[in-house]
Symmetry: C2
Subunit: 144 residues, 2 copies
Amino acid sequence: MFSKACEYGIKASTYIALQSLEMNRVSLKEIASEINSPIAFTAKILHKLAKNDILESVKGPYGGFQIKKERIDSIKLAHIVAAIDGDDIYNGCALGLDECNALQPCPLHEKFVGIRSDLKKMLENTSLYEVATGLEVGLTFLKR
Amino acid sequence: MFSKACEYGIKASTYIALQSLEMNRVSLKEIASEINSPIAFTAKILHKLAKNDILESVKGPYGGFQIKKERIDSIKLAHIVAAIDGDDIYNGCALGLDECNALQPCPLHEKFVGIRSDLKKMLENTSLYEVATGLEVGLTFLKR
DNA sequence: CTTATTTAAGATAATTTTGTCCGAATAGCA
DNA sequence: TGCTATTCGGACAAAATTATCTTAAATAAG
């Protein structure tokens, strides 16, 4: 469904959001350990998310990653996915055709219209805030 | 969504089904040309599908691939996907956790329950017959 | 029974994705 | 200023996926 990079990106953003809600800036090392991901690879992904204005990075001692508290609710999963995997997941053809639309559909086009639109809506409507708070109360998990 | 291999597998099976409905056995070369796929790679995929009892292969002159007419309706997309990509697409965790279920869910688990179940149902209920007949009447396309 | 045609099967190669390493840049602190 | 913790950014490496090539095996037809 998502690439590994995107999985790490979502998990990392969720953890950073959770900590940011409590005013904590978190280091790469801590993030990677909390989400069980390879450190250096995670760094690249966080870097990309920072460039895409999804999170902020601070260099130097006591540096790390954070998200402005007031933005946590307006950042949606779709933003993260788009930054890392692009929009193929809901805009691309299930069979990989370059031109696949209602006029020239692949054999599965109609079958996927509903599913892809549900997925798109879900990603566009789910905020980092919503995702992080489940974690906070111990209802959901980022590793295992 | 699907791997390239799976995309080719679905497209190839659809074309073979269409031709089998008209009693035509089709060669690898013809299939690859009809679905715009690399010949040798397609051969591997067809071979796998044959081993999985989804289609039949016949060696030698006038050989090729075919599907028993009476089976075309009972072969579902889910069978093809399972043979090539496995069942991760509807059973795996969206965030890649090994253990992710209602009791120990990842933060996206609940969000994906409906989408994955819809996808699963769709793949399990869509037969090769249904997919091939759209092609037959020129309503859908396998390349472009 | 020989030849031509076609799939089978495995080795190899190219590409993409995933992952590592290391020096540079930045910032806090003594 | 100089030391240290940390991200930045690019080069490099490993693994997975996609794709090619070559030879073998099967089989229909002359």
